[in-house]
């Protein structure tokens, strides 16, 4: 079922896809709630219950070719909307070279092999598809995020493909001897490893939530099973109300961590923006130490987004060069400028490049001009936070020494201005300082994985936590009318969290009940 809201042309290029994906998820959630209250009854199952799963089936890390596997009824939707097979599905089990596009923006993400395995002749016994794409992290992330935005699709649980294959009776004895160990590694070890890898803090945080949720559930269950003819203290439910509310807020806050942990895993989006001919493409080439973008003295050379993946100080970075911002009668260039602006809006960090030779020599005038320029480029409020931007004054090799010094001193610490770097892409002057600054900005954005507030590291965890928050809302919705349905909300929330921290059984809940209450009968 398509939600009209998700069909909005969110014309995102790579960097925007994550946002498109979350937006789609979010609207889908809302959509679901509408159904609940309108009583349509055609409930879309929550994330974890959605039917079609996808995952990167080849190993993590850089590799030549990556295989993304999709299984479930929406596999056909994915094929139709992402590889341009509107009318006909490809012949079964035959590799086809296709462009893989974002389902909403139609942006080409990669070109690769597409394979279609209709049920029941697939590994899982369900409709399945495979995308064999290039192995770079940017491409993989983009394809996975695009898949996540297809309605009915969700990231697979550890070992879930095998589990489905197992249910479909697809595994045969010769396969299984080896598979047993494989799945073992895929699930048990992976879960333990994932929990261990989650910095100790994160594991603690999730365990803490799980513990509190268990208590909430135990207390509601006690109230249901024992309150009327046995002695359950008044005010038990009121305490649960408070706890559930707190948990909702805390998990919600955690989800709004601005993707720091995921950034660490999948890359910080850094966008180079500025007026035409400021030297943006030169900066890109300088940073990636290869001529990734065409550089020329002609204004408007770059018309589309040029993207490259980098490692800066150990952090993965997805760097995009954009078209110079200017009014242009050229339709192609107009589109390029529109994309550039959109990129800037979606960027984690914007490098605003300015031709320093065009600045007034007087520093106050210069800073006023820069502030103005900054506002016009970073139109969205969010990005005007100076932490999200660096000012790069390029072409310093063309400035007299005195002017350079003047700017260097005069533009520091001006309120409203982000950190300023004077560099020359021609002579590499100032590049070292710039890199240090860039690195520290990125580092603060990813968070130090070794300390500080725990951050989300996996999209899968995010999905389960979102499910958890949504389920907790069910508690509030039914608290006063139907406690069984309210408790169901906490049960679902605990199931969602349990997929990260481990399962919770009825006995465990009963243990808490008997520890906390004197059940009198």
């Amino acid at each position: 079922m398509y939600c009209p809201a998700t069909m909005l042309p969110v014309s995102a290029v790579c960097g925007g896809i994550y946002r498109a994906a979350t937006r789609a998820l979010r609207t889908r959630k809302i959509h679901q709630c509408c159904h609940l209250s309108s009583g349509d009854g055609v409930l879309q199952a929550g994330l974890a219950d959605a039917d079609t799963i996808f995952a990167l089936s080849s190993g993590h890390g850089r590799c030549g070719v990556a295989v993304v596997r999709i299984s479930g009824p929406a596999a056909t939707t994915a094929l139709r909307s992402m590889v341009g097979l509107r009318k006909h599905l490809p012949p079964p089990r035959t590799a086809m070279l296709r462009s893989i596009t974002d389902p909403y923006s139609k942006e080409i993400l990669d070109r690769g092999l597409v394979l279609w395995f209709p049920a029941p002749h697939s590994f899982t016994g369900e409709d399945s598809a495979e995308f064999h794409i290039h192995g770079g992290p940017a491409v993989i992330t983009a394809v996975l995020q695009a898949l996540g935005s297809v309605p009915g699709m969700r990231p697979a649980e550890a070992g879930e493909f095998t589990r489905r294959a197992f249910h479909a009776g697809k595994l045969d004895l010769t396969e299984v001897e080896g598979l047993g160990d494989l799945i073992h590694a895929e699930t048990e070890a992976q879960r333990r490893q994932a929990l261990r890898q989650m910095s100790g803090d994160l594991a603690c945080l999730y365990q803490n939530w799980s513990h509190r949720l268990k208590r909430c559930l135990a207390h509601v269950e006690a109230f249901i099973d024992f309150s009327e003819d046995e002695l359950i203290e008044e005010g038990v439910l009121e305490q649960v109300d408070i706890s559930v509310h707190d948990l909702q807020a805390e998990i919600g806050q955690h989800l709004k961590d601005e993707r720091r942990g995921e950034r660490l895993r999948s890359g910080v989006h850094v966008v180079i923006a500025g007026a035409t001919n400021a030297g943006k493409s030169s900066l890109l080439n300088t940073l990636c130490q290869r001529p990734a973008a065409i550089v020329s003295p002609i204004a408007g050379t770059t018309r589309d987004v040029v993207e490259t993946a980098l490692d800066i100080g150990g952090f993965p970075v997805l760097l995009s060069d954009t078209a110079g911002l200017r009014e242009s009668p050229d339709l192609v260039e107009q589109e390029g400028v529109r994309r550039a602006r959109e990129r800037v809006q979606q960027a984690d960090l914007t490098l605003l490049v300015v031709d320093s030779t065009l600045l007034p020599s007087e520093e106050h005038q210069a800073s006023a001009l820069l502030l103005n320029h900054l506002r016009s480029v970073l139109s969205s409020q969010e990005n005007t936070e100076t932490g999200r931007c660096l000012l790069v004054l390029n072409k310093t090799d063309l400035l007299p020494e005195a002017q350079r010094e003047k700017l260097n001193r005069g533009l520091r610490g001006v309120s409203g201005l982000p950190p300023v770097c004077l560099i020359s892409c021609q002579t590499n002057e100032g590049l070292k300082d710039f890199l240090t600054l860039l690195q520290s900005s990125i580092k603060s954005m990813c968070g130090d994985p070794l300390s500080g507030a725990p951050t989300l590291t996996q999209a899968r965890h995010r999905a389960h936590l979102q499910q958890c928050v949504a389920a907790l809302a069910q508690y509030g919705r039914y608290r006063d009318t139907d406690l069984a349905l309210a408790a169901e909300g906490i049960r679902l929330a605990l199931t969602g969290l349990g997929r990260i921290t481990g399962r919770v059984g009825a006995e465990e809940i009963l243990d808490i009940i008997f520890k906390d209450f004197c059940i009198g009968k």
């Binding site: 199952a45 001897e177 047993g180 799945i183 003819d229 139907d482 349905l485 059940i519």
Partner: protein, 683 residues
Amino acid sequence: MPHMLTRKLSPVQSIWFLVTKRASHVSRQLYDVIVVGGGHAGTEAAAAAARAGAETLLVTQKIQTIGALSCNPSLGGVGKGHLVKEIDALDGLCGRAGDWAGIHFSILNRRKGPAVWGPRAQLDRQRYREFIQAELLSTPRLTVLEGSVEELLVTDPNPEEPGVHSVTGIRLANSSHPISASSVILTTGTFLSGSLFMGQTTSPGGRIGDAPSSSGLSQTLRERLGLRVGRLRTGTPPRILKDSVDLSLAKLHPPDSNPTPFSFMNTHTRCKPEEQLPCYLTYTTPGVERVVRESLHLNCHIQQDTKGPRYCPSIESKVLRFPGRSHQVWLEPEGVNSDLLYPQGLSMTMPPDVQLRLIREIPAMHRAEIHTPGYGVQYDYVCPTQLSPALQVKNTQGLFLAGQINGTTGYEEAAAQGLWAGLNAARWALSLPLVGLSRTESYIGVLIDDLVSRGVKEPYRMFTSRAEFRTSLRPDNADLRLTMKGYELGCVSSVRHNEAVRVKRGLQDAISSLQALTMSTTRWRRMLPGISVSESKNSSLSGMDLLQYKDVSFEMLASVFPENLSEYMEFSERLKIEAVYKPHCDQSKREIERIQKEENMTLPQNIDYFTLPVSLSQEVREILDRFRPSTLGAATRLEGMTPAALVTLFNYVQFTGKEARTTNRKQTDHEEDLCTRNASLPQ
């Protein structure tokens, strides 16, 4: 609608008839099913076996105690009421007996949502016994015999199936002749090596006033069949003379003004609304705690290390575990003509003089007199992981166990197992495949699955929190979930089946009519002013959607569309519940299907997990050997199982032992069939 209440035999006649059947007058020496024990499990087992077509013999020590309520004079409650409804849906006795004997009806949790409503009743002990005894008497193919079972007769293990015995019958005390049967159901309650405790005295027995049962039975189970047994304890409070209690010092607790019957076959209870008796609520005082502490050295039951229930603790354990609190004491009537009160919450095992001192610390009972003192019981139970989901002992063909012998507590839990064991014992005797109930379709399924796949560490009581699919397993829809299935399996009469079919069709038609009434929100608001359907929605709603709203009732809709809906007025409450829960049930359907799939993959019971030539860790092998799960579903719920081990197991089953699988397959197909039928309830 049939009124079962009207066609009852007079109690005098029934008891006279039953008493005439003494051990010496046994008419035959060969039965399909023998049931040992006449408590809640035994009576349901005997009745179910006979309903399912088996020639059945019920052996009990004393015919007058058949259907006796040994402990509390009440039935149902939260979770337990669910069981009563399900037993009734399978045509068992206790729901109708409750409607006959109830003297105080109430639905607990009325404000917490229909999925957790707890139908409950205080019972008249006398009337309950009368009903059960009369019912058993009028059951065709059922013979009742007074006697004590001396020995359970089993064969030596079959050389082709090492370790597997078969039951052949029983031998009574004072009789050299065995009575043969294909199936035997043991429902010995607390009598298996039972001992009674009061103060410092201990005596053998399972219930005060009854002779202890023979040690022969216990010996056969342990030594001959090698079954693992454990020991549990329970207790009962003293009975108080009503006249000696100052009820003005307790809080009056009236029943529901309009009693709701347990049974789907009854429209009303025997007791008229105005004839119902109240209960009274009072509390313990610091004096009670003092008496408990002072008398601990005189109390050997409480000093023993045997596991008692955490949810039905004696006053001693309550005081010791939660000191400094006051605990509830319910004063419950024992019957219309009884001069006794049952002090719920005051189960105790101290010497009688201390018991008197203790109860007199409670203001309402400051001059109370004790009729019968409270006492404790310790008894053996057979670790239920040694049973199959049909409640058959895995290593003894034809031997079934039900009730407290499996480690449960409570009348309803016992009755539920009794019914299921009775049905399966009959099916075994009649060479029909044994059947299980899924935890996705019933509380009985949850109960049995918990018992046989996880075992017990303390007396097991049902709670709604044990059921994963609580929103689907409601008391209101037990008939839709189970009656058709029970009819297929042979334990439901055609009268009840027809009634369930009628109700199901009525509900389906009503839901179709409601769904057909689809119109815009604006129009609904015009027709039903005052409903809180939000204006902003311009979508159209069906009558079924509208019924989900808190302030919309079926009666309201029927008053606007009498021509479409008025004929369904008898279902108005059920329709409202269906409407509210439907979205949630739909949501859990997928998970239910997954579990059912796993439950339909049976694991052969004769696997030697230690030598199985597949890759399993020693730890997993030990777990599997200890619990011997019957299905893959049960295996997934074992603690310590790994997905890898499950895959290995699955494939082992898939590719070996084809013969065993063919028979299993038949059974599974049958069950699947029924599940599908079950799943197509009113949508």
